[in-house]
């Protein structure tokens, strides 16, 4: 952990040098910023600046209320269902396809254009089309989740295979590895980090798509909760629902990250 190089500052004092012993101060700063934000929020809520902003306490109470209510958990279940279905599909299709693309360079070069396109465009634009075609069902949500996440998962699997250290590849060849041995013992472990990153990123994209879809679809899922609260001007409930949704998403992503850390325990820290 080397210190940042100081900028030649006024009177020769370096900006930005963080001496070891100052660490506690940084922690205090971080906590302080959170506290400051919460305080600002509370103040904004109490002030008559906008009647739409509930205070932190109001939001927290509404949140607790939601957590105790059945509709919330039902909504979470429905959304979770779409998410699981869509992600399962994306993984089942994306990873093998990406691995295949990496193993067969011509196929990879041809298909990558489509996936790069899918990644570049705003996938949300396709949501009305899906709804129009498939109606408002869990299946359409699942398809939207799939569309949002599959391109990333595929491309990351592809990159993982392509980026196998050529040195390791040469080493395996020198030891006369068969193609199957090469794939299982070198390609798969080597591409695992990229695969997992793709999974994580795909999941975060999936959430984005799911939320947009449900906010538009409305009849079910967490989107319904949010839209209901919004249309009934129950701002504390609205803030709470949004907050809980975001926290659920972050929790799932964090869990995935921990899994990643355990699977890749051999990485240098």
């Amino acid at each position: 952990m080397s210190e940042t190089i100081g900028v030649p500052g006024r009177r020769g004092r370096s900006k930005g040098r963080l001496v070891q012993g100052v660490e506690p101060a940084a922690v205090a700063l971080r906590l302080g910023s959170v506290a400051a934000l919460l305080a600002a929020w509370e103040w904004a809520g109490r002030s008559k600046a906008s009647f739409a902003i509930p205070t932190f306490t109001q939001t927290a109470l509404a949140g607790v209320d939601l957590l105790g209510s059945r509709p919330f958990w039902e909504a979470l279940g429905t959304s979770g269902q779409s998410l699981a279905m869509g992600m399962a599909g994306a993984v089942a299709v994306g990873i093998p396809l990406g691995l295949l693309m990496g193993t067969l360079p011509t196929l990879g070069r041809y298909l990558r254009v489509y996936f790069e396109l899918m990644i570049a465009i705003p996938t949300a634009a396709v949501i009305p089309l899906v709804i129009l075609t498939m109606g408002i069902t869990v299946r359409s949500s699942a398809l939207i989740v799939f569309l949002f996440s599959a391109p990333f998962i595929t491309m990351n699997a592809y990159a993982g295979v392509r980026d196998v250290n050529p040195r390791l590849a040469e080493m395996a060849r020198a030891f006369a590895a068969t193609p199957r041995q090469f794939f299982v013992k070198i390609v798969v472990p080597s591409s695992l980090p990229m695969l997992l990153v793709g999974l994580r990123y795909g999941l975060s994209r999936a959430f984005v798509g799911l939320v947009v879809a449900e906010l538009l679809l409305s009849p079910f899922g967490v989107g319904k909760l949010i839209m209901n609260a919004s249309s009934m001007f129950q701002y504390d409930r609205l803030f709470a629902a949004v907050g809980l949704t975001i926290m659920a998403a972050l929790a799932l992503l964090a869990a995935l990250q921990r899994l990643e850390g355990r699977l890749l325990h051999w990485r240098r820290p």
């Binding site: 040195r167 060849r173 030891f175 006369a176 013992k185 472990p189 240098r268």
Partner: protein, 259 residues
Amino acid sequence: MTAAPAAAPEALEIRVEGVSKVFGAVQALEGVSLTIEAGEFVTFIGPSGCGKTTLLKMIAGLIRPDAGRILIGGRPVEGPGHDRSLVFQDHALMPWTSILRNVAFGLELRGVPKAERQAAARRYIAKVKLTGFEQHYPHQLSGGMQQRAGLARALAVNPRILLMDEPFASVDEQTRRLFQDDLLAVWGEERRTVVFVTHSMEEAVYLSDRVFLISPRPGRLVEVLEVPLPRPRADHGVRGDPGFTRLVERVWDTLKKLQ
């Protein structure tokens, strides 16, 4: 122990016959012919880009010559095989698994059962003095130790021919000298054929029975130098021997003209 050493009964001779190779516009090798006796320790040396590594990889079976052929123990080289082993310049250890499993990798590919291959791996880990580090990951080891692990892996498959591509290039001078002596000690026990590629003239003369000098663009065999210095090299204080210095300067005289 200064009598002429006998080659191991399984060591193989290498015959390079009129080998040429072109990469794009570069004539990496042109009409190279040489013979390496079974059990000999030889070095390829030459300026950068002289095709010595290419030739080494051809012997390993990783690259095909455009012209000519390479015979090992009388049989032409078709690809990588169980009789040859390669030590890489940058260790090429798999970062995701332990040193033990890395060293056992060659044996694993050949279907050797787990208990047996891990026992063999431990033996060779001991030979390169890495005992105690079996469960470590490559990134936890220093550069020198990683190179030693790479050597153990190459030895563990019991090759008839050991091929080494500048294995000590990234190691500091002091460690390098120790490695050279360690390598000669390990080699001395079993006398396989060794082909060693290096940039260092001292290293080439110190380690080898013969030194092959190769020129760059086009890659040609320019000279073959006999190194009649006594073995074991370490015991005889060869580095201080005026004969040694003369040989090194002979090498330099030739290489100078090639730069």
